[in-house]
Symmetry: C2
């Protein structure tokens, strides 16, 4: 159990039609001119773009748009937007999209005050200030809408790294779960797995933090329940539960008092640095069982607690298999081979992971550990 | 399931020796002169006062002290402190104590800008600004350290009423669980019951908010587990879990997406308005079983869910009895009679409750409903 700080200044507006409050939230903070950052254009199909621009217009906010953020967002796009922002000089930024768009926006918000934004991914303390920014979330997964983290891939150096800095909390984030009803099923599943893994990365580092472990069990069970319901039929209540769970999985709630040392995400980031087309949630889902099997002996009491609470079994291996079956039932891929990863690239992936200094989780990972996990996930 | 806003700007520092950071947190926000508000003097016995003044001295903060806030804090004391604050003109306030001290401090922080602070308890919208304030918590119970609510008794009018306003969040709150190890057992129990009831007031208003219901079950189970451990022996991890649970029970986490309409607290406030010596947690614990029995039929699915998840029974009455036994095992009083409440005063208490307009919870309460609950708790 660790001393910790619970602090999250982001204001989250959650529920149907909340986007209509966007303009007022921005203008009441004195911002008149914003840069809207978006992805490939799905927001024009699901009416989000209309709702956003209408709300901005109602509050007389000047707005320029930049499109084209892609999944697993890349540094070259970040730099393009920073250049635009330096020229346009907005009062604030607005991300309309998923985690990739929000993470890109965070990079831009810090980057307008830096000579080279990538430096901040190598040294988090370089971010001394950032442009205020707002978000409208279109897919619940990464939790970026209510935290201070950003993950971007430096594609030249093949580094998919995180930046965490207290200046990078959104001012206001809006989640209207109803707009996620049109998501393709595999994206809902990837989001659910991502949120599960955020919660469990903390959970499996646990020891005696009973209140956090209990809450995390609640989050995990609720995500599984909601996703099962959504697989059968679209349902607003299940969708909203899943959306909120994804936010709580990484807004500080799930990790209170917990030790540091995420390792599963670190391995996945190596994987998608080399294979950028692999969705983060899909990668995590494949790696999770192999990762569990490799590390559980170093924290058996907590793995056993998870097995009992979530899967009602006294057998950890049985619980891991049950979660794997669950992912499989949702249609998630279950092996790296299935995603056309080449076996000879596993070493490359392991090498990539160790480019990032300091890698300590449930165990002190060696390259051999990572290779074993990758091979077992193959 | 309701639309809602999740927003809590309080920075919580949690863990051993965190009080040493107090001075820096205050001075880094530009405050140089503060008014320290405290209770009867227990903080001089448990070393908290020493730690606080040392940290303030290290940051060269000028400090005046006012003592004597009592449990179930009263308006006359609030007014005394407001008069002092208007004369001394501090930059900020510092509450060192439990919920009563913090609620008094909130009243003062709003009251220095009002002609008559009680007006704000009758009309919450009157609070347009408030003096910044900080808290060092010495007993975990009310959750006031991380929310925007204050409950004060107007002793002349016998009104124990709440004020909720977004200007009343603490800037920074500090919880060092180790300082609560010297609390008398009955205070630990009252705090645990208060936190349980905060969580369950929301929970029993639930319907289809699965993520919140799941988290609330985690909070409830963890409070029971930690309190059971503490009854056997003092243990830092259990104490810390209980402290954090009490904060989460009323910092926004436990009530996400939930309908409004707390009723159990409303009844207890009527009770302790007439009998100010009854500790809030003790009153809640006595009223809870009678309240459950009277209202559960109006939300059976959720009461059944609670019975299953927390007490592993399919029988609601059985679960209510189990919780009652639990309170009794902790040594909490189980009847109003036991606390020397006069039977003829039950009508007076019911009348008092209905002085406060708008009273709607799981059912539309009539005075008859309240009297039935009071009689069954007698």
């Amino acid at each position: 159990m660790k001393n910790f700080t619970l602090y999250n200044p982001t204001k989250l507006l959650f529920g149907k039609s909340q986007i209509q409050n966007l303009g007022e939230e921005i203008s009441s903070r004195g911002h008149k001119k914003i840069l809207l950052i978006a992805g490939g254009g799905s927001i024009k199909k699901n009416d989000v773009y209309n709702q956003v621009t209408q709300s901005l217009n109602n509050s007389n906010i000047e707005c320029k748009e930049i499109w084209g953020v892609q999944p697993n967002p890349i540094l070259s796009k970040v730099n393009e937007i920073i250049a635009l922002a330096k020229e346009y000089r907005p009062d604030a930024l607005l991300a309309v999209g998923g985690g990739s768009t929000i993470d890109t926006t965070k990079a831009v918000s810090a980057g307008v005050y830096l000579d080279n934004v990538w430096d901040a991914y190598e040294d988090w303390s370089l971010v001394k200030k950032a442009l205020p920014f707002f978000t409208v979330l279109t897919i619940s997964a990464t939790g970026s809408e209510m935290n201070m983290g950003s993950v971007v891939t430096n594609e030249d150096e093949k580094k998919k790294w995180a930046l965490v800095n207290k200046n990078l909390f959104p001012q206001v984030s809006i989640i209207d779960p109803s707009i996620q009803s049109s998501l393709p099923w595999n994206q809902t599943v990837n989001g659910a797995i991502d949120a599960l893994m955020h919660t469990l990365e903390y959970y499996f580092l646990g020891k005696d933090e009973d209140i956090t472990l209990s809450i995390d069990e609640g989050i995990v069970k609720s995500i599984i329940k909601s996703t099962n319901i959504l697989q059968k039929e679209e349902n607003y209540e299940a969708r909203a539960s899943l959306c909120l769970a994804a936010t709580l999985a990484l807004n500080g709630t799930s990790g209170m008092m917990m030790e540091k040392g995420w390792s599963l995400h670190r391995i996945e980031h190596g994987l998608s640095a080399i294979y950028p087309k692999i969705a983060h949630g899909a990668g995590l889902g494949i790696l999770f069982p192999a990762w569990c099997e490799h590390v559980y002996k170093n924290n058996e009491p907590i793995f056993l607690r998870w097995a009992k609470e979530v899967y009602n079994t006294q057998n950890i291996i049985d619980a891991i298999q049950k979660m794997k079956n669950q992912f499989s039932k949702w249609g998630a891929p279950t092996s790296l081979k299935q995603l056309d990863v080449k076996e000879e690239d596993l070493v490359l992936i392991a090498d990539n992971i160790f480019m990032n200094p300091e890698f300590k989780g449930i165990i002190n990972f060696t390259k051999e550990d990572v290779l074993t996990i990758l091979k077992n996930a193959y």
